[in-house]
């Protein structure tokens, strides 16, 4: 081991450590920037059905629910302040079967207060179009391959404008294992001379 003998050395070490942290932060920032400009994506599937989430998860109506709905309606419950405790959802989103790693809870990825957005681990909000940033937090190598075009699908022009399909276009984020699909028919074996059969 090298002993740190002088204050100078300690100071140098500290400064370089700070620089490193800052640079990582800066690079993370750049990533977000890059993500916003470089990867045009087709609309996420969620836009077709439930979006905008804040149509229900409305911040402005919180606390008003019991007066409006007399404490009886389901909606009334949802208009209460969000309950951050992990639990099994029954009344709404019951169809979501969360099978994604060991960390099972909606609010790990969805923002608690701004439901139209996703939330990175650091707390930063991103739109659903940028969901690859969220996935990339854990699946680093796949994210890298996706950016290179090795993993995932692209449509459009090989030499120009193209759309990058999001992770969630193929993988259900709540249960990401690729689902089986039906394959197409096998080729017909060659027909043996038209003379014999008009198949």
């Amino acid at each position: 081991m090298v002993k740190l003998r002088t204050k100078k050395q300690i100071r140098f070490l500290l400064i370089s450590l700070i620089c490193l942290v800052v640079s990582i932060e800066v690079r993370a920032e750049q990533k977000v920037q890059e993500g916003q400009t470089v990867f045009p994506v087709p609309p996420p599937l969620v836009y077709r059905e439930l979006f905008p989430c804040q149509a229900c998860h409305r911040k402005d109506l919180r606390g008003l629910s019991s007066q409006i709905y007399g404490g009886k309606s389901y909606l009334g419950k949802y208009l209460r302040a969000p309950d951050p405790r992990p639990r099994i959802l029954v009344r709404m989103h019951g169809n979501i079967n969360l099978k994604h790693g060991k960390w099972h809870w909606c609010l790990n990825c969805h923002s608690t207060d701004e439901r139209n957005y996703l939330r990175l681990i650091k707390g930063e909000l991103i739109s659903f179009e940028e969901s690859y940033l969220l996935c990339g937090q854990c699946h680093g190598t796949i994210y890298r391959d996706w950016k290179w075009g090795i993993h995932g699908r692209r449509v459009g022009q090989w030499n120009g404008k193209k759309l990058y399909l999001l992770c969630v276009h193929c993988h259900d984020p709540h249960s990401p294992k690729y689902r089986k699909i039906m394959s197409e028919d096998p080729p017909r074996p060659p027909s043996y001379g038209r003379w014999e059969s008009e198949d």
Binding site: P189, P190, Y192, G193, R194, W195, E196
Partner: protein, 418 residues
């Protein structure tokens, strides 16, 4: 040219054509039966070709899996027959072996007939025969020297031309009772020998140079082609010469037949050695390259379509070889002719079915699709054989009288009556 000479020439030409007409139209009953039989075969072939003309090559048994079949198999066999004519030329003109010398022209005519059949078979195999001009120089774009098919077209047509030139020159000489000039025909005869061998080597290379097809991609292929051609071609000649001896005044000495049989025997021996060398090298080495060979001789994954045929071929070839080898049977005309037939059929099976087809089985992607020719395909092939034999028959009807001295130019000294 003085007027008198001119009219004399015209009279000679008219005389020649009336002779030809008489020769072709007159003959013993068996001649008419034979020609009518061949015409019937051609008729059937033309009728069957009607289907191919209408529906395309789909009426054949060929598929994307096995994309060449009976047509190319016959082509390969017949190139061998054509090339084998050289074996009659070598003893006749190089070693001056008299008895065969008289037969050499008949061999040349056989080569011409075989070449015509070859060209017919290849044309039938094309998807667009009317586009043949694309391979011609100047107006087309022949892929020369890269494509072996262009080489094959060149050597086949060249050989056709050489054979025609030699036989025409010699026959015209005999007909006009002028001594053939050695300095004229010998260089062409000498050229024809390597050319004939080249014809068959190039045809072998056509298949040989394809890395995709391990069954063909073996250095012994061209030598094997030559050996099998030099056994089947002369064996066919022996049978034909005996028929000629029986039905015409043409004299064929036993000595000549036995000499040719010796060639057949040696060539077949070499052919069998080559086959053994090939089978050993492949099977002992192993690997996926052996699949077509295994398919051919033992069947692959339960598919055994060619097994009985190739073993028939091998047994026929071995039997024929032995019959030519054993002193007692090689001088007995029954066993002698049997040996010839065994070898012709054996080599046809080996090269027609057992060579072209297994090259495609399994496909380069391992699929096994068993080829078998369809009825129209067989009938069309039969029609081509009929056309070739008819050409040969009619040619012999002119050539043999010239050779025997029955047919001579007007005013010749030694005209014999028909």
């Amino acid at each position: 040219m003085p007027k008198k000479e001119g009219t004399k020439l015209i009279r000679k030409v008219i005389h020649f054509f009336s002779q030809v007409k008489d020769r072709l139209l007159k003959g013993p009953p068996i001649y008419y039966v034979w020609v009518l039989f061949l015409l019937a075969l051609i008729g059937i072939g033309v009728w069957a070709y009607g289907y191919q003309f209408k529906d395309g090559l789909a009426i054949t048994g060929m598929t994307d899996q096995v994309s060449w079949g009976l047509y190319i198999g016959n082509f390969t066999f017949l190139v061998g027959v054509a090339a084998a004519a050289v074996l009659l030329i070598i003893p006749a003109y190089i070693y001056n072996f008299g008895p065969i010398r008289e037969l050499a022209v008949l061999g040349e005519i056989l080569a011409i007939s075989a070449l015509l059949m070859c060209l017919l078979f290849v044309t039938l195999d094309l998807g667009h025969p009317q586009r043949f001009w694309h391979i011609l120089p100047f107006i087309g774009t022949p892929n020369f020297p890269s494509s072996l098919l262009i080489w094959d077209v060149l050597v086949l047509n060249g050989y056709l031309f050489i054979s025609l030139a030699i036989s025409t020159y010699l026959l015209v000489g005999i007909y006009l009772e002028k001594k053939a000039k050695k300095w004229i025909y010998m260089p062409v005869v000498l050229l024809s020998i390597p050319w004939a061998i080249g014809v068959h080597i190039v045809t072998a290379y056509l298949f040989n140079g394809l890395g995709a097809r391990p069954f063909w991609n073996t250095a012994i292929l061209a030598p094997r082609f030559l050996a099998s051609a030099f056994s089947s071609g002369p064996a066919l000649c022996i049978i034909i010469f005996q028929l000629i001896r029986k039905f015409t005044k043409f004299k064929v000495k036993d000595e000549a037949l036995f000499k040719i049989a010796e060639i057949v025997c040696i060539a077949m021996g070499i052919n069998l050695i080559f086959l053994g060398a090939e089978v050993f090298k492949e099977l002992y080495t192993g690997g996926w390259h052996i699949a077509p060979l295994v398919y051919l001789f033992a069947g692959l994954h339960g598919y055994t379509g060619l097994v009985k045929w190739i073993w028939t071929a091998v047994i026929f070839n071995c039997l024929g070889f032995l019959l030519f080898l054993i002193p007692a049977t090689k001088k007995n005309f029954v066993s002698f002719n049997l040996a010839c037939i065994l070898i012709v059929v054996g080599v046809w099976l080996e090269k027609g079915l057992g060579f072209v087809v297994p090259g495609f089985i399994p496909t380069p992607l391992g699929e096994i699709w068993e080829y078998w020719p369809t009825m129209p395909e067989v009938l069309i092939s039969v029609g081509v054989w009929g056309a070739g034999l008819l050409f040969y028959t009619l040619a012999l009807k002119i050539v043999i009288p010239i050779e025997t001295g029955e047919m001579r130019v007007l005013g010749a000294s030694s005209v014999q009556s028909i």
